[in-house]
Amino acid sequence: MSGHSTYEPKTGFERWMDMRLPILRMAHDTAITFPTPKNLNYWWTFGGILAVMLVVQIVTGIVLAMHYVPHVDYAFASVERIMRDVNYGWLVRYMHANGASMFFIAVYIHIFRNLYYGSYKAPREVLWILGCVIYLLMMATAFLGYVLPWGQMSFHGTVVITNLFGALPIVGEAITTWLWGGFAVDNPTLNRFFSLHYLLPFMIAGVVALHIWALHVPGNNNPLGINVKSKEDTVPFHPYYTVKDGFAIALFFILFASFVFYNPNILGHPDNYVPANPLVTPTHIVPEWYFLPFYAILRAVPDKLGGVLLMFGAIGVLFVLPWLDTSKVRSMRYRPTARLYFLIFVLACLVLGYCGAKLPDDPVIPGVTSFQLVDADLNSFVWLSRIAAAYYFAYFVLILPILGLTETPLPVPDSISAPVLSHPATTPAGAVASPEKRG
């Protein structure tokens, strides 16, 4: 999509096509000859994995829509019919439901890889922001999709999430009524959620195209976080990375298949196999695992509006990250102090996820009562999530801005090829070191 094209049409048809719609040229330049840093590790394979998962979700979703009925009286039954009567319906639905989880596993690894190797820094800010937009669209799509089976968790999850907007002053109530199309979550809500759930994946596909375009302007970042200096630093995308990505996709599909075939409901919630009942809320209402860290942040704040704002702020802060991180060094391989804070950040995210699955007032260490602090015992999940949430925000708005100015990074290699060529392992045994310096 950028740079000099090396495509040469070989057949008459290719020449004819190239004069009219140079789509083969574009495919050749982006997926075959695209110069890619030669040192990308397996953390870089998750982009390809995500692209494949998007295709899996769209294909299985289109099939499910052929059998699903978006009506409060039939939705639950139609999903059960897919599971029991539609030929291979169980397979397609389990692929779709677990595919969503796989999609989020891959996207979280992809995001953490970006954070570690500083891929969001100049000149890749737009690439990063487009990624944040994709992540937001993914969360919206996943939430809308979880509503469709119309089980207890579907229903009451929708009630809670749509009521989040009710926390906004003045316009809050009008917005929730508008979202519901009534005075409660009901048939109009289910209908529109189905329509939007079908729409959003195609919007994601559109933003993915922009994301790849924005990637191919500056090219890939790499584990060293330094710019490509010469042709020596790169290899063509095909066959080097088509094969590497392909291998990673195959491994990832083994994980995916192990969920689909051996434990298809482990990531779901049993309450969603109970038909929706607006008059009874399940005793313990939790979102899907991939939303748990944000759910923990929401519950960590005792004020309704404050909790909602902080939860959205947790995602909003990602958008401005390229301007918060003041370090000129991209890769944390050369930022030992930042690496430590990053590891704590990953831990804080995992702790938030763990807290989101627990009841707020339950003790973290069972059977121990410490002392009451403000509104809850210090030994409670609500306080643990407050500490982790505080670190989450501090990492972005305090640690990264200050650390970039105060830390001393390690020396960065001159080029991608330099550390490889000067590494002792590349010198054959028995060869003389630095022969040019010998007499």
Partner: protein
């Protein structure tokens, strides 16, 4: 440079010509059409006529024994009809002067002379879950989702909910029958 004078007829504002008029008129018409069409496409998501026309419900109070609650569905939402015991009423009145987040006296929340009957919209004012009857620290309701405690008058006492359980429009049709909505 004085041999030719070129006048840009589009740049000066003092002599609008026919082309300027067409530009402005076309631009304004297009912008007006977009804005005018945007509203129908937004408003179609608001409650439809049949949803708004949902009838009010009548309810027979003899179904509720003292100390019990019956949940009725109204406008897609649960409605609590609670027959309070004298002890619960006394507790609610006693707490009129306690520190309340959304201060309201118990007598403002029931019909005059009928303190035993409490009719409330059964959705937590936090995020809309259905609170469970008789739970929590204050004997009223407890919301399982995020831990809001309501007293026997349906007032918020503890937890994240900002307001008391809402009292809908309702009235006695006869001594044993009420109409809600």
């Amino acid at each position: 440079m004085a041999d030719t004078v070129v006048t840009d007829t589009h740049a000066s504002g003092d002599d609008p010509n026919r082309r300027d008029f067409i530009h402005i008129a076309a631009g304004a018409a297009a912008a007006g059409a977009v804005v005018g069409l945007a509203w129908p496409f937004i408003d179609q998501m608001n409650p439809a006529g049949d949803t708004l026309a949902l009838a009010s419900v009548e309810f027979d109070l003899t179904k509720v024994a003292a100390g019990q609650q019956v949940v009725v569905k109204w406008r897609g939402k649960p409605l609590f009809v609670r027959n309070r015991t004298p002890a619960e009423i006394a507790q609610a009145i006693k707490d009129d002067n306690a520190s309340l987040r959304d201060p309201q006296r118990d007598e403002e929340r029931h019909k005059p002379g009928k303190p035993e009957w409490l009719v409330l919209i059964g959705t937590c004012t936090h995020l809309g879950c259905v609170p469970t009857f008789g739970g929590g620290d204050y004997g009223g309701w407890f919301c399982p989702c995020h831990g809001s405690h309501y007293d026997t008058s349906g007032r918020i006492r503890k937890g994240p909910a900002p307001r008391n359980l809402e009292v809908p429009d309702w009235d006695f049709v006869s001594d044993t029958k009420v109409k809600i909505g």
